[in-house]
């Protein structure tokens, strides 16, 4: 008998799953009256105004924050929710944070509406993953919008804060065996009450951080975003009246659901799955673990579970909210791509059947803080695989929207700390994934350094911005080759490698890095998997001598020095003045058999210097004549011969 069967999904012992009918205190009055006869022009004006308000919310956060991870990379999300906490509008930012705001807002409605109450001018803060965040650093704020004493709707955001405490700078605690060894969790608490910031609560939150000034600025940026969104919605209500505006909100949700229904009609009923492997529950662990997502489509609904996933272990866990967010990210991209961020209708058509006590739906007190760089990309990748195979079975034009898997933990970045060139303690987070690579789809190649599809608004920082913010110099940043990694009938876009050296300091600690022991990405329907993410360090190099001579090193191999042994996940790596290091975001997955690729596309890659002639023949069976022209006859013969060889 399952001993955990009687544990409720309450956000305390287990991740919170909102019930269909929320238990809200009768002392809280909800505005539910919506007009049903809004004329089409008014509907469109108000609908687009909601989208604009949400975008302005995001732009406010971006402009006022000071952490590069927020300001440049846009590791945040903002949303407008109904009075019941259903997400209506989502921004073009980190997609998996979207519905989490709905989950923790619903928890607040159930658990805070009676005591201490939900009132006009309040803002709740929450970074408890069991209530509804991906990990503690992605702290959420949610703000009720009132009209005439009734709760009309909510505006909310989740922002990655650079350090929220815990034993490790950056708060990603690789060695945690449970949440008590993680940064602190704050279940929903009023940060703002009656329009006034509670300085006691603000100080409580900031006191945990090693960089409280930076976190304070970002926190106030998030509050400003809420303020802007709240004021704009109140103005909208004043202009059109609450019943008209609520009527438009209801219709937006219904219209979104109908649009999703139409898409689902193009997909046959059936069952699809994906399996992704990960490793090292804590540094030094040699275990291999499984993330699995299964989707059943039946009668116009999608039923999603994680059956087959490994039991929760070490620090590689996420909660129910993370599972939901990660599954919704690829579903939003592949099914709701034309809804302009009005995603609420999509969520109505998906039912989750989570298996608790697993690494992708962990029970309290599993450690969660590293989920942002390990589990969340992994679950997004697993869900992408299952969703892609489902969409690949759809009728056109939907099937062409199926895209292959992006990163698993590739992340391609690193988190580091030390004393910077301004002689201040700093925590840096380089999001190498921001350069991205769009994976292959059923209709076309991916896009080289095309960003990360599940963070549409993400931007890679410029080298100069990094060098201004942190004590580093970039030696090179360049695209990977288009060779075996991510090959297919349609190939992945190309990822990027970046090499660095210290500048303005003589020591730095690298806390988080990725050096995959094995490839984790899965190819789509015959395509090659993506490449291996790596992190390399070479110690005691002569790189500075190169720089003194006015030369820029362009590879590790040309420099003297000693290659440092680096495991997938290890203790902090101390970087010193003559060390160089590089991070690699590999190419993502390809689609289809590489031997079926249009040879002219291979020729194009060779002519653009993205692939060698040798790789063209080895990977794609494409043969060139002397002078570089495509040899069609020998290519066809080579491919036919290779397919025959496969049978023996």
């Amino acid at each position: 008998m399952d001993e955990t069967a009687n544990i409720v999904w309450d956000g305390v012992a287990r991740g919170y799953i909102p019930p269909v009918n929320l238990r809200i205190s009768p002392s809280l009055k909800l505005h539910t009256q919506g007009a049903t006869d809004v004329d089409p022009i008014t509907y469109e004006v108000i609908r687009n105004t909601f989208t604009s308000i949400n975008l302005e919310h995001g732009q406010t956060i971006q402009k006022l924050s000071i952490s590069p991870i927020t300001m440049i990379v846009r590791d945040f999300q903002c949303a407008i929710l109904t009075e019941q906490g259903d997400v209506m509008c989502l921004g073009p930012y980190l997609l998996y944070l979207g519905n989490m705001q709905g989950i923790f807002t619903k928890w607040i409605l159930e658990n805070r509406s009676g005591d201490p109450g939900i009132k006009e001018g309040d803002v709740f803060l929450c970074n408890d993953p069991y209530v509804g965040t991906s990990h503690q650093q992605d702290t959420g704020l949610t703000c009720p919008v009132f009209w005439n004493g009734e709760l009309f709707c909510w505006v909310s955001n989740s922002v990655h804060y650079s350090d929220v405490g815990g034993p490790v700078p950056g708060s990603f605690c690789l060695t945690s065996q449970n949440i008590h060894e993680d940064p602190p969790c704050f279940p929903p608490i009023k940060l703002v009450e009656g329009g006034k910031i509670r300085t006691d609560v603000e100080q409580l939150f900031l006191r945990q951080s090693r960089i409280p000034q930076t976190v304070a600025m970002d926190l106030h940026a998030a509050l400003a975003g809420l303020r802007v969104a709240q004021e704009r919605i109140v103005k909208l209500i004043k202009t059109y009246g609450p019943d008209i505006v609520k009527g438009v909100m209801n219709r937006m949700m219904d219209a979104g659901e109908r649009a999703i229904e139409k898409k689902l009609e193009l997909i046959p009923d059936g069952r699809w799955s994906e399996r992704v492997y990960t490793e090292a529950a804590v540094p030094g662990d040699r275990g291999i673990y499984v993330s699995r997502i299964n989707i059943v489509k039946e009668n116009g609904y999608l039923y999603i579970d994680n059956q087959g996933t490994s039991p929760q272990v070490g620090s590689i866990n996420n909660t129910f909210a993370g599972l939901v967010g990660a599954c919704l990210a690829p579903l939003t991209i592949m099914l709701a791509y034309d809804l302009g961020g009005i995603c609420g209708g999509l969520y109505r058509r998906i039912k989750f059947r989570p298996v608790p006590g697993t690494i992708t739906c962990a029970d309290y007190p599993a450690a969660i803080s590293t989920a942002g760089v390990f589990n969340m990309p992994m679950v997004v990748a697993t869900a992408t695989g299952a969703v892609s195979k489902m969409v690949a079975c759809a009728d056109s034009p939907l099937r062409e929207k199926a895209i292959a898997m992006a990163d698993v933990h590739a992340y391609g970045g690193c988190i580091f700390n030390g004393i910077n060139q301004y002689e201040q303690f700093f925590v840096g987070m380089s999001a190498g994934m921001a350069s991205g690579a769009l994976p292959a789809s059923l209709a076309r190649d991916g896009v080289d350094t095309g960003g990360l599809f599940w963070v549409p608004g993400m931007e890679a920082s410029n080298v100069e911005e990094n060098e201004l913010a942190w004590p580093v110099l970039t030696l090179y940043r360049r695209e990977n080759a288009a060779e075996e990694a991510g090959a297919g009938r349609f190939r992945s876009g190309l990822g990027v490698e970046e090499a660095w050296i210290l500048h303005g300091t003589d020591r730095m600690d690298m806390q988080i890095y990725m050096n995959d022991s094995f490839v984790k990405n899965q190819g789509l329907l015959g395509g090659n998997s993506g490449g291996r993410a790596f992190f390399k360090v070479k110690r005691n190099t002569n790189a500075r001598q190169y720089l003194a001579e006015g030369k820029l090193p362009q590879s590790f191999d040309e420099l003297n020095g000693d290659d440092a042994p680096i495991f997938f996940k290890g203790p902090p790596v101390n970087l010193e003045v003559n060390d160089i290091w590089s991070t690699n975001l590999p190419n993502f997955a390809g689609y289809g058999d590489p031997l079926d690729r249009d040879p002219t596309l291979v020729v194009q890659d060779v002519s653009q210097g993205k692939m060698t002639v040798e790789a063209a023949q080895k990977v794609y069976g494409v043969v060139f004549k002397e002078g570089g022209l495509l040899d069609i006859e020998r290519t066809e013969a080579c491919r036919a011969g290779r397919k025959q060889q496969r049978l023996f």
Partner: protein, 108 residues
């Protein structure tokens, strides 16, 4: 919507053959019935991951050697229908089972 044929990949489809839902290759070869994993009807090649090329080579061979790269080919024409990075010894992933209009969905 009535469906008597479902395209899965470029060369793989599920269709009604003599009243039975079957996975078929574009070459016409039947890979097996709807009730089974189509991979069971394919020719399997299992290789070390690093054999694919330098882009897959690991700095930790002990870990890498516990994993493999699986390719599933049509046994008639040699086209590659699926690939898997898998732990050695783990079963093939049964990952695709769409349903023609008359079929049933397995909950397994």
């Amino acid at each position: 919507m009535e469906r008597q044929r479902i395209f899965i990949g470029d060369n793989l489809k599920l269709e009604n053959i003599n009243g039975e839902a079957c996975y078929t290759c574009a070459c016409g070869n039947i890979l097996g019935p709807w009730e089974a994993n189509f991979k069971e009807g394919c020719t399997l090649k299992e290789s070390p991951i690093s054999s694919l090329g330098p882009g897959y080579a690991s700095s930790d061979p002990d870990m890498e050697n516990r994993m493999c790269f699986r390719e599933f080919f049509c046994p008639n024409c040699g086209v590659r229908h699926a690939t898997e990075v898998a732990r050695i010894g783990d079963p093939y992933l049964w990952d695709v089972q769409p349903k023609l209009s008359s079929g049933a969905v397995s909950e397994s």
